[in-house]
């Protein structure tokens, strides 16, 4: 446990460059999506136990807190997929390492290009659902 704490502390205090922070975000997003997946499958399985619990869970998903969580999930997935592709390419072609700064910037640009519209559309949809004319239905 103390090894975990000292590793987390070192990871946050070392002033690495982009690669360091992308690595941290890759791990956090990977574990975050994994956590979601576990809860997701558990939530879906609740239908086997009781349709009532299942329905109540589905109602819960329609609250603002979960809508914000959905945005984080969408960003996490997009980031993880794009950054994971960057890592895989660099792993397979070590000779490309000199372009790693470029690869990092490209990955960030692609993430922003994909995530920005996704998050805006999702957020607008949620805002409409919560505050729009049909709110509460």
């Amino acid at each position: 446990m103390s090894a975990l704490i000292s590793t987390v502390r070192a990871s946050l205090s070392y002033r690495g460059r982009e690669g360091h922070w992308l690595w941290l975000l890759h791990r956090v997003s990977g574990l975050g999506v994994l956590l979601f997946l576990i809860l997701h499958v558990a939530g879906m399985s609740s239908a086997f136990i009781s349709i009532e619990i299942h329905d109540r869970l589905l109602e819960m998903y329609k609250t603002p807190l979960f809508s914000i969580g959905e945005l984080a999930l969408a960003f996490g997935l997009i980031f993880h997929a794009v950054n994971g592709t960057r890592i895989a390419i660099l792993e397979l072609k070590p000779e490309l390492w000199q372009k790693q700064q470029l690869a990092t910037r490209l990955a960030i640009i692609i993430v922003v290009l994909l995530a920005a519209p996704t998050i805006i559309i999702m957020a607008l949809g949620s805002i409409n659902a919560f505050f729009g004319p049909a709110a509460g239905h």
Partner: protein, 236 residues
């Protein structure tokens, strides 16, 4: 001369329960090295400050430390390049036990170094002359001959912080220097060591090591080449 406020992380396990920040004001030239500022503290302000250094010219590899949060050689960095708002922060390397102040226990680091057989392995008779090699074959591993075993790379690696058993970038660089040497015959044995669970596959391609290396060695690339040699079984 300019004034520099030095913040140095101090820890004497015989006296201190926890590390603490020593703060010192020194006057140095902007073109002095960070090491000169530390000497100013040790020689004129507080002689109990403990650090390693020997050559003071970036050759021996003994004064790697964390300067403004990044692994650097103190004798390699100029004051004017490191000073931020009149201040420079200095800490010991991460991931190795602090013996005192800026001195860490390098033994685990050197144990990893020894584990990859950092010497030429070749039992054939070289004859009356040295073993010859073409300039191209020599160039193949030129980059990794430059390592001075300062540990800046290994102690900048998140995988090493998380697991001290990971051989670390420096040992892989040293292994690379022999694996890709046409005169050497120990590649299979070294790849065996580096292919196990504490070998190259702990590398997450973070590039902290490449960024930290004071010799400008392409550390992540060397690790990538060793990964490929293990994955394909071919040493090229």
């Amino acid at each position: 001369m300019i004034k520099v406020h030095l913040k140095i992380k101090r820890f004497n396990p015989e006296k201190d329960k926890k590390p603490w920040w020593g703060e010192y004001d020194v006057e140095v030239e902007p073109t002095d090295r960070v090491l000169d500022a530390i000497h100013e503290v040790k020689w004129n302000i507080d002689g109990t400050l403990a650090l390693r250094r020997s050559c003071a010219h970036g050759v021996c590899g003994s004064d790697a430390m964390r300067i403004n949060g990044r692994n650097r050689l103190a004798c390699h960095r100029l004051i004017r390049d490191e000073i931020q708002n009149g201040q420079i922060t200095i800490e010991p390397l991460l991931g190795l036990r602090v013996i005192k102040d800026l001195i860490v226990d390098m033994e685990p680091f050197f144990a990893h170094y020894r584990s990859i057989m950092p010497y030429l392995v070749n039992d054939t008779d070289p004859g009356p002359r040295e073993r010859l090699q073409s300039p191209e074959d020599r160039a193949r591993f030129d980059d990794t001959t430059k390592c001075i075993l300062c540990a800046a790379c290994t102690t900048s690696c998140p995988s090493f912080w998380a697991r001290g058993e990971y051989v670390g970038p420096a040992a892989i660089v040293q292994a690379h220097r022999f694996i890709f040497d046409s005169r050497d015959q120990g590649a299979a044995e070294r790849l065996e060591v580096l292919g196990d669970s504490n070998g190259v596959w702990r590398c997450r391609t973070v590039f902290n090591c490449t960024e930290a290396c004071p010799r400008g060695i392409e550390v992540t690339k060397a690790i990538g080449e060793v990964k490929q040699a293990i994955a394909t079984g071919k040493v090229r």
